[in-house]
């Protein structure tokens, strides 16, 4: 069963792209260099499908940042990059004289903030357009591999994942990652209600 129609997904995609566009602006300011971000597609999958869908088997080491959001719907938002891509982002953002080892020492802290910027921008775009408040926690950073994504395990079969591919371009380098919003079926329906109200207001439904 798909809880979100194509129209819902299009609307979400548009809102998230609005969000990542703002995030790109903030990140560009931070590094004083042009950074582009886009989230080309939104999909809804079940928790047990995640490993297969997410990254495939190509990259096993993951660098991820999570933030819990709580409002009309509840969601754990996750920004997730293959470890290699995360280091590529950071080596562009931090002091260029740092060695790769030093970059990885700063990874937890810097990824936390980058994840914070991107996830908050997405959620604030939703909150803004829906006219709601979403209490957000501080970001947490994890290392993981695709086999043991602890965040996805232990959830029940009712868990749904809103999955976005995210593309970050900096210094002519395209870096791919994923945005995942982990939510129960109940919360997904609440999100759908928010989307319906938003679409109604725009006269699109």
């Amino acid at each position: 069963m798909s809880e979100l129609s194509e129209l819902h997904r299009d609307a979400l995609s548009e809102l998230f792209n609005l969000g990542v566009g703002r995030a790109a602006h903030s990140l560009s300011q931070m590094v004083r260099d042009e950074i582009e971000l886009s989230a080309p597609f939104v999909d809804v999958i079940q928790a047990h499908e995640v490993s297969a869908v997410l990254i495939g088997s190509e990259f096993r080491e993951l660098s991820m940042v999570t933030i819990d959001f709580e409002g009309p719907f509840v969601s754990k938002a996750i920004l997730l990059f293959p470890e290699r891509n995360a280091l590529a982002i950071l080596s562009n953002m931090l002091d260029p004289d740092l060695t790769p080892e030093e970059v990885s020492e700063f990874e937890q802290e810097a990824m936390c903030e980058i994840g914070n910027v991107i996830l908050n921008a997405c959620m604030s775009a939703l909150a803004d357009e829906f006219g709601i408040e979403l209490y957000g926690s501080l970001p947490k950073h994890y290392f993981s591999d695709t086999d043991s994504l602890p965040i996805f395990v232990g959830g029940n079969a009712e868990q749904r994942l809103l999955l976005l591919q995210i593309q970050l371009t900096m210094r002519q380098q395209l870096i791919q990652g994923h945005l995942v919003f982990l939510m129960g079926v109940g919360s997904l329906l609440d999100l759908r209600n928010c989307l319906d109200a938003y679409l109604d207001r725009l006269g699109m439904r």
């Binding site: 931070m30 810097a110 903030e113 959620m123 604030s124 803004d128 979403l134 209490y135 957000g136 970001p139």
Partner: protein, 349 residues
């Protein structure tokens, strides 16, 4: 807990606390903030951070605060990505030097009628300074692990790394790279005559003279082993490399270091083998070393205190005068050392 105790606790914390109301105006400002900003609650109460500190306008801190006030989102601002955001000072003396504190900032929402946003500021200055010191130290250690302890020039590890890196760059950019292999002539006899300490002093002087004789930034002398030195020259073709080699050979000769045990001039001298190439895709860096080696041993065979260059046209070494004239026009028979040519052929294969 009574209010008085609460206030004392907040003022005693070793972390900066700012409370903002729903409009983003300062409601509370603890003792730590007063100590490190020089402003007391009376100076800041009822005002927005951007009014107090113009640098906050348009900053990520301002947008974080706005996200918290409007949507209840939380943010963290790491010191490495947002250095010295607020005019706070680790020590009072830092203010005169305008050395701001490194700050780790958390912005979180509050569920309260009057207070909407809590800002916590941690002083990361000591940690970051320590980090810098450690990094500087590790840089120095890395430097020393690439240095020949006797002569102070690069060691073999330095050379091997430079060779791999510069050869790859030359290949990528299709630019010429040259290598000079240098050997101190009759060094064993020198050592036998002056003892090992005398030999060490000689090597130090030769190494420094070679180093000081290089004029371009980035060109580096490395001790290849024993009394052999190597110099890699990026963006340098054969004739230029020959000119540099000959200049260095003369400089060493003109040091006038007595070498009574040497046949001939009675002074310390060097032999130099030169190779240069624009590497093709299928060539490896060892070829350059093998070619320079071949030229060096040819120079030794030719009587020492001279430079020889590797001529790819004949796969043999030639005396220097031929390097600058038309290739292949030389009437002289190219100087080749048969066993070395065999070794080179093996390397090339």
């Amino acid at each position: 807990m009574d209010i008085e105790l609460g206030a004392q606790l907040i003022d005693s914390l070793q972390v900066g606390l700012i409370l903002l109301d729903h409009e983003g105006r300062v409601v509370s400002w603890n003792g730590w903030m007063k100590r490190h900003s020089g402003l007391g609650l009376a100076d800041v109460a009822g005002r927005r951070l951007a009014e107090l500190f113009p640098e906050v306008s348009g900053s990520r801190l301002e947008s974080s605060i706005s996200d918290t006030l409007r949507f209840k989102l939380s943010s963290m601002l790491a010191p490495n990505l947002n250095p010295n955001l607020l005019p706070l000072y680790h020590r009072a003396a830092d203010r005169q030097r305008d050395q701001r504190m490194y700050q780790l900032i958390y912005v979180t929402p509050l569920r309260h009628d009057h207070c909407a946003c809590l800002i916590q500021i941690h002083d990361m200055t000591s940690a970051l300074r320590r980090e810098r010191r450690l990094r500087a130290q590790s840089t120095r250690l890395i430097e020393s692990s690439y240095q020949d302890p006797l002569t102070g020039v690069g060691n073999r590890r330095r050379f091997d790394q430079d060779l791999a890196q510069r050869f790859r760059q030359a290949k990528d950019r299709q630019r010429s790279i040259a290598l000079l292999m240098i050997d101190v002539d009759n060094f064993k006899a020198y050592n036998d005559h002056f003892g090992h300490q005398g030999g060490d002093a000689c090597l130090i002087q030769v190494a420094r003279t070679l180093r000081d004789g290089l004029r371009r930034d980035g060109d580096r002398v490395s001790r290849y082993g024993g009394e052999e030195f190597a110099i890699l020259l990026a963006d340098t073709d054969g004739p230029s490399a020959c000119a540099i080699a000959e200049r260095l050979r003369l400089t060493i000769e003109q040091l006038n270091l007595p070498h009574p045990a040497a046949p001939g001039i009675g002074r310390v001298s060097i032999s130099v083998g030169i190779a240069a190439m624009v590497p093709s895709d299928e060539q490896f860096c060892h070829i350059l070393v093998a070619q320079a080696d071949l030229a060096l041993y040819s120079a030794k065979d030719a009587g020492r205190n001279c430079c020889m260059w590797y001529d790819p046209a004949t796969s043999g070494a030639r005396a220097l005068s031929k390097c600058n004239s038309d290739r292949g026009q030389g009437a002289d028979k190219p100087f080749t050392s048969e066993p070395l040519r065999g070794a080179l052929a093996d390397t090339l294969a």
